[in-house]
């Protein structure tokens, strides 16, 4: 048996909000244990595409998709697939840190508990916080509120919380956009650690960040048609996207000449 190298494959993926086609015809493969960045101007559908990977979009009423998103070879949008199972295996970190209004410990333990975690909870909490590079900062205040720490720490808490359920993939939607450069750097270093064990897909507005952290980059752009739908115009190794892009629009965007 050969290992499948792609965690996700999308085939002709179209995502709608009501009648509005927000993301049109996306065909990309997300490689395993790599960091894939999604970049592009505001409103081109980056978050929408990202949220299609763990069926988060359907929490918004009236959304639907055409096409396929294969996760480990299985179509996530098959009728028989339970979105709860999908999200259990594909974790998410949001743009704004959103810890639960519970203790730091409980933030990490909560999801493991609802999924019936059998092992030692203290160990799980510690190892998750260590992986998120937060343990040393919070080990003495585990029982104070998850909201009583700085924004950067909160975001790492959210990463620890995502790790605690042992997902295969972590989706991150501009995880550092609300943070200062030092906290951002911490998150970026953390991502390099995490990719040993997890596949990461990250949406970012920050070109340098995409260039620094990711292995592959998907460039999204409005397709220029009357529907104003976003699509992936170029998908390649990050290196290539930033040095030798094939599409003129990508080149303009990554060099900052995009109007």
């Amino acid at each position: 048996m050969t290992e499948i190298n792609y965690v996700f494959e999308t085939h002709g993926l179209n995502i709608f909000y009501g009648n509005f086609l927000a993301v049109a015809d996306v065909n990309i493969n997300i490689p395993r244990h790599k960091i894939t960045a999604i970049i592009g101007p505001s409103g081109c559908g980056k978050s929408t595409l990202l949220r299609a990977f763990n069926r988060m979009n359907e929490l918004v009423p009236d959304t639907h998709i055409h096409g396929e998103v294969l996760f480990e070879g299985q179509n996530l949008y098959e009728k028989s697939v339970d979105p709860v199972e999908v999200r259990y295996r594909i974790g998410m970190v949001f743009q704004k840190p959103n810890p639960f209004p519970k203790s730091i410990y409980e933030n990490v333990a909560w999801a493991a508990r609802i999924h019936g975690h059998k092992g030692n909870m203290d160990e799980l909490v510690e190892s998750s916080l260590r992986q998120a590079a937060l343990w040393d900062e919070v080990k003495d205040i585990l029982h104070s509120s998850g909201l009583a720490i700085s924004g950067g720490q909160q975001q790492r808490l959210c990463i620890a919380r995502a790790i605690a359920v042992k997902p295969e993939v972590i989706l991150m939607d501009e995880p550092a956009s609300a943070l200062d450069p030092i906290a951002t750097l911490k998150i970026e270093e953390l991502m390099q650690e995490l990719k040993q064990k997890y596949t990461i897909v990250i949406v970012t507005h920050n070109m340098q960040q995409a260039a620094r952290v990711s292995d592959h980059t998907a460039m999204m752009m409005l397709n220029g048609g009357a529907t104003r739908s976003g699509t992936v115009i170029e998908f390649d190794e990050t290196n290539k996207i930033f040095t030798r892009p094939t599409d003129k629009r990508t080149e303009d965007y990554v060099t900052g000449r995009f109007g």
Binding site: N54, M56, L59, P61, V84, E85, V86, R87, Y88, R89, G91, M92, F94, K96, N98, P99, F100, P101, K102, W110, A111, I114, H115, S145, L147, C158, R161, A162, V165
Partner: protein, 318 residues
């Protein structure tokens, strides 16, 4: 005059530089609105204080009479003004029974309705159901009273037997009171649940939580202070509810916890006594103010307890 500043640059005071106008300006509109708001706030406080004063004054006349003493008032099991027995317990237990039954109905059902509306119902469903619920809360309580007497009581009697359930009973009044209070609790709790940020729900869903887990373990605790407020308001409403108990619960003090027996609540007693021809300054007349004062302290205590409770358990999400 040149002064050195932190970055080494000199700061000069230029005599020719015209002064900007930074003077305080008068804003008469602001002052009017502010005083208006102050007076409305002040007025409600003033009203409350006047009510307490009036209650206290008349109650004082009652407790001052030689036939009454405070200990007997609080622990006596007979309320029979004509033989000068003033023990509030029979009235208090009746209030307790009706309130407990009402809340046993209204809290779980009201919360369930709130959770359904805020977490499960589609937007369209919610926008239809919520106004209906609120209309339900606006039905005159006398209607509920006769609903208890002519519908619920016969139902109880046919289920449990005519010899067990009396024609007037606290159970049926309590049940109907629960139905009356349910929309109140549902509506306020729903507001509290709805106010919980979407980001929290998304965080939980993103971890693979089910709808029920999100609703009960994330949204509900985060909305706890609003829900506690709803419950307290509900209890206060139940304690103070008069018409239903006056019609359906019974017209005579009865020291019992049995919900199938007739008994008169504190409010029921007040309304019956004050409906008859009472002379001012009689001991009977003053006694109803003492009951009123008790009601006031009861709700006050409840409010204080609930505030403690909320401060202790609520999850602050901002």
């Amino acid at each position: 005059m040149a002064k050195k500043t932190a970055n080494g640059l000199k700061q000069d005071k230029d005599p020719a530089r015209p002064l900007l106008n930074l003077k305080k300006r008068r804003r008469p509109g602001e002052i009017v609105i502010q005083s208006l708001l102050f007076f409305t706030g002040f007025f409600s406080i003033f009203t409350t204080i006047s009510i307490v004063y009036e209650l206290g004054k008349e109650a004082w006349l009652f407790f001052r009479t030689p036939a009454v003493n405070l200990l007997e008032f609080l622990t006596g099991t007979k309320w029979q003004p004509h033989i000068e027995e003033f023990g509030i317990l029979p009235l208090a237990t009746a209030t307790l029974v009706t309130t407990a039954i009402a809340m046993a109905i209204a809290i779980p059902l009201g919360l369930a309705a709130a959770i359904y509306l805020s977490e499960y119902a589609s937007k369209k469903m919610r926008n239809t159901l919520k106004p209906i619920l609120e209309v339900l809360a606006g039905i005159p309580t006398i209607v509920y009273g006769y609903f208890a007497l002519t519908f619920v009581t016969p139902l109880l009697r046919s289920v449990f037997g005519n010899d067990i359930v009396e024609i007037y009973n606290t159970g049926s009044a309590g049940l109907v009171m629960g139905i009356l209070i349910l929309p109140l609790i549902a509506s306020i709790s729903e507001d509290a649940l709805n106010a919980v940020p979407r980001a929290l729900r998304e965080a939980a869903y993103g971890l693979g939580a089910t709808k029920l887990e999100v609703a009960v373990k994330i949204v509900l605790p985060a909305a706890l202070s609003g829900i506690a407020a709803a419950v307290i308001l509900g209890i206060s409403r139940a304690i103070g509810e008069t018409m239903i108990v006056a019609v359906a619960a019974g017209a005579g003090p009865n020291f019992t916890l049995n919900p199938f027996k007739a008994a008169e609540t504190m409010t029921g007693h007040i309304v019956r006594i004050s409906g008859g021809d009472l002379s001012y300054d009689s001991i009977d007349y003053n006694s109803i103010f003492a009951i009123g004062l008790m009601l006031f302290f009861l709700t006050l205590t409840l409010n204080i307890i609930s505030q403690r409770f909320v401060r202790r358990f609520r999850e602050v999400y901002e």
